[in-house]
Amino acid sequence: MAKILIVDDSSTVRDQVGEFLTENGLDYISAIDGKDGLVKLQGDPGIKLILSDVNMPNMDGLTMVEKIRNELGNSTVNIIMLTTESNPSMKERGKAAGVKGWIVKPFRGESVLTAIKKLIE
């Protein structure tokens, strides 16, 4: 089963999204910031999709994406940003770094399911 990595500094969001994924029969693991996200991704080859926040301590989500693509050389994992940010320049930065989709919080389950269907199923 494809595994999803949730990267968010808010445990409330990690719990909400994780609960939703479980209810829909999906497997997931969580990371608390961009740095932790990189570690979790490297440690689990089953991860096919990342749902990541942008604004996080230690390492923000877009920096994490840039490192995944450039430093880890991972061009296959699908990345969706789940964030309060909707600034066009930030979306452009994400797009340039290899982000596949953007969801503005608050979290809505059907958008995540749509992303999963389109990108990994």
């Binding site: 808010s10 445990s11 409330t12 969001v13 719990d15 604004n55 969706i80 964030t83 309060t84 940010e85 909707s86 600034n87 320049s89 930030m90 979306k91 994400g94 797009k95 982000v99 596949k100 989709g101 953007w102 969801i103 503005v104 919080k105 608050p106 979290f107 809505r108 958008s111 995540v112 749509t114 992303a115 389109k118």
Partner: protein, 322 residues
């Protein structure tokens, strides 16, 4: 004077003159003030609780003697110096109050026959900052939407926004997040009562705490703060404008837990909102107080609303594929 027709402020009316009640009430009604009358025995107890005041109207004959009125005013000034007091005198020279005594305790005085000093008082000390109506309306919309997204089982309503000078913290838990733009610099603060929020959250069907309750509630309040902050930025802050030229000035924040007091280092009145989360099934409700403290900069002339349509708000949560 503010042009924010919807803004109100609470003032404490320490005045027992029944014959002037109607005049003062009419003044309050016409000027966006909510007058709170209390017995003289309860003044300090009231001031030590959370009443989110903008100022105080006091009559020279409020206490048994003029001397006692001045003592009470001095005590209020000592305990709550952020609250301006204006004195109502019977006539301009009705009693012999030394000028330095007057200046120590009161920012001005007025008589019932001439309310112009009272009008100037509220213009100078309460409604001294102009908040654009689009900002007030927008904050209410994004905050209700953000709260509703996290409290799906409750009904979220917003009260009329108001102005406070108080620095007393409400409840036991609050969040702070900086707001930085070319037109504002300061903080947003959300305050609530932990036990009441806890009662409301656990009344949700199927909720299981995975951490100790206070940590869960902290995280929940943090996420609401994050959602409002993000929506505020998306709607009101153009990140591409003048970022490099923004000031880096900071001032210390001082929080006194014992006295539930917070200072942002500014004497400016603050813009406040109150939201109510109501569980229709149980009748339980919880208040969340939201303060906007633009203590470092506020230049409303540069304010602009970036995202204004209802459609844009509804679009949050939608997937945008690249």
């Amino acid at each position: 004077m503010s042009d924010n027709l919807d803004l109100v402020s609470k003032v404490l009316i320490l005045d027992n003159a029944v014959e002037y009640f109607d005049t003062i009430k009419q003044f309050c009604d016409e000027n966006g003030l909510i007058g709170l009358r209390i017995h003289s025995n309860n003044v300090l107890r009231t001031l030590n609780s959370y009443v989110d005041l903008g100022g105080i109207f006091m009559a020279e004959d409020y206490a048994e003697t003029l001397e006692k009125t001045l003592e009470l005013a001095a005590l209020i000034r000592k305990t709550r110096p952020e609250l301006p007091i204006i004195l109502r005198r019977k006539t301009d020279s009705s009693s012999e109050i030394q000028a330095d005594n007057l200046a120590k305790c009161f920012v001005d005085s007025y008589t019932i026959d001439d309310l112009s000093p009272l009008r100037k008082f509220i213009d100078d000390y309460i409604f001294s900052i102009v908040y654009p109506n689009a900002l007030i309306r927008g904050i209410t919309e994004i905050s209700v939407q953000s709260l509703q997204s996290q409290f799906k089982a409750q009904t979220v309503t917003a009260n009329a926004p108001y102005i406070v000078r108080d620095r007393i913290i409400f409840g036991e838990v609050f969040s702070l997040i900086p707001l930085e733009s070319n037109w504002c610099r300061g903080y947003m603060m959300l305050q609530t009562e932990e036990s009441i929020l806890d009662s409301l959250v656990v009344s949700d069907v199927g909720l299981q705490y995975s951490q100790t309750p206070f940590r869960e509630l902290n995280n929940l309040l943090g996420e609401v703060t994050n959602l409002i902050w993000g929506a505020f930025k998306n709607r009101f802050i153009n990140d591409d404008v003048d970022r490099a030229n923004r000031s880096v000035t900071q001032v210390p924040l001082v929080i006194n837990h014992q006295n539930k007091y917070i200072s942002f280092g500014s004497e400016n009145p603050q813009l406040c909102f109150k939201y109510t989360l109501l569980d229709e099934a149980t009748g339980l409700f919880c208040s969340i107080y939201q303060w906007f403290i633009f203590n470092l900069d506020f230049t409303p002339e540069l304010f602009e609303e970036i995202q204004t349509t209802v459609d844009d708000l509804i679009d949050s949560g939608e997937l945008e594929l690249f």
